[in-house]
Amino acid sequence: MIETHHLSKVYSRGLYALRDLTLTIEKAEFVFLTGPSGAGKSTLLRMLLLQERPSEGEVFVNGQNLATLNRREIQEYRRGIGFIFQDFKLIPSRTVLENISFVPEVLGVPAAQQRRRAFQVLKWVGLQHRMNAYPHDLSGGEQQRIAIARALVNDPVLVIADEPTGNLDPDLSLEIMNLLREINAGGTTVLVATHDRELIRLVGRRTITLDQGKIVEVA
């Protein structure tokens, strides 16, 4: 599903965010990416989302070399990916249902279909009763569940989560992880960046540890 070959990212003044990174993540696998702050976790995720380009090396997703994609192909590629951020990135002026249906809306899906699909995923994360609420009316855990619903609304083949539990207490964090496990059980590849070692231990999946841009452990 995901392969990187000798991937490096160098910022100005010769600072390496990633250094000669080679890894493989299989289809339908659930993988944790961990390491201290500045280890390169977010940089790798940003490269997978094509928000950044490698300085050296290559990234393949589903056999596609991401460096060769043109603008239209990048759009097409991104439609197959769901993303979850630590700060949820919900739109404050939209209701819960609108935040989710926003994704199919901007992809040109007909209105009735947008709402139907948004309601399905909202029900799946158990927040259908909050569909008309606004993000500021929700708790952190609820907001992250909405963000997960939004990531799923487009039936992605890959879900990327960057510190999805960073703003949540341990109970809510486990709840979010359980949702991600359920997504993975449906055959979706899930890649989660987190520095929460306890959570990784509880979930118990393959873990790639980065430090100073290099893989230091695969467990």
């Binding site: 603008r71 991104r78 439609r79 990135k89 739109i91 901007v106 992809l107």
Partner: protein, 294 residues
């Protein structure tokens, strides 16, 4: 189609949200178009007047006192055969004197001391509307060379000069309107960009889910388009109110300036172009800002 509908829905909502700052952009476009529109009203009416003067053009062929009737007949034949004349009238020496006394009554006493009538007989020719200026001039030159002709006058130079001055005024006005339109587009771009910055997260999500460019940039272009459209409609309304007010106060003076014609507002076609122009200026401003979105 869906992207257009989305763009206008979102653009309209954004316009409403930022209605305070959008008012500046709308005002800038309206002012630019008021300048342009006022200029168009003046030049449109001046052009109508010029066209009327041009179509009413005539020339006079002055005959020598000793011109024979055969010579006069030959001159008239040359005029008729040119097919430039819409009509002609022979004015005898006596008629010319009578006209002078009638039209310049205060000078008529001067003529009583003349031993003989100094006014020449002439043939006045009305030039057919739409006749080419060069061809008419060539005919006049030919007539001057004919026996029995003392002189011929076809003074179109002043019309050309008026048209040239009008053209210069129009060009200067257009340059001013263009500058104001650019300023208006910059204002629109700035206002739209302000709104864009408050929607950074939304735009990032759109990019990350692979939304087409039309969905990402479209709302900003639509917002500029709407600002331009509203500005243009306001400008047209202001011009109309200004026109009616000016006509109520100085209508008869303005009409007399037009040599018997009546001052007209812009034709519907030009109003339509003015509104379209406003929309275009707004859209350009919106597009400039939208390029920052993705």
């Amino acid at each position: 189609m869906r992207s257009i509908e989305y763009a206008f829905r979102q653009g309209g909502a954004s316009l409403w949200r930022s209605r305070g700052s959008s008012a500046f952009a709308v005002l800038a476009i309206a002012l630019a178009l008021i300048v342009l529109g006022a200029l168009l009203i003046v030049s449109w009416n001046a052009e109508q007047l010029l066209a009327r003067w041009s179509s009413a053009a005539e020339f006079s062929v002055y005959l020598r006192d000793e011109a024979t009737s055969d010579q006069r007949a030959a001159i008239e034949t040359a005029i008729d055969q040119s097919q430039l004349a819409d009509g002609r009238e022979y004015v005898s020496k006596a008629e010319a004197l009578t006209r002078f006394r009638r039209e310049f009554a205060e000078l008529s006493e001067l003529t009583s001391g003349f031993d003989e009538n100094p006014f020449p007989a002439s043939i006045e020719v009305r030039v057919r509307p739409g006749a080419e200026h060069d061809i008419a001039e060539a005919l006049v030159k030919r007539l001057v060379a004919m026996p029995g002709v003392a002189d011929a006058r076809y003074d179109r130079d002043w019309l050309t000069r008026v048209a040239s001055v009008l053209g210069t005024i129009r060009a200067a006005g257009l340059a001013l309107a263009l500058l104001m339109a650019i300023a208006a587009a910059v204002t629109v771009a700035t206002v739209v960009r302000l709104g864009l910055r408050t929607r950074r997260d939304e735009l990032e999500i759109m990019e990350l889910v692979g939304a087409p460019l039309a969905f990402i940039r479209g709302p900003f272009v639509a917002e500029g388009f709407l600002q331009g459209g509203i500005g243009a409609l306001l400008a047209t309304a202001a011009l109309w109110v200004g026109f009616l007010t000016a006509m109520a106060w100085w209508g008869s003076d303005l009409n007399s300036l037009l040599d018997g014609g009546s001052v007209q507002f812009l034709p519907i076609r030009l109003c339509f172009y003015l509104i379209l122009g406003g929309m275009l200026v707004g859209s350009v401003g919106g597009l400039v800002a939208a390029r920052e979105a993705a």
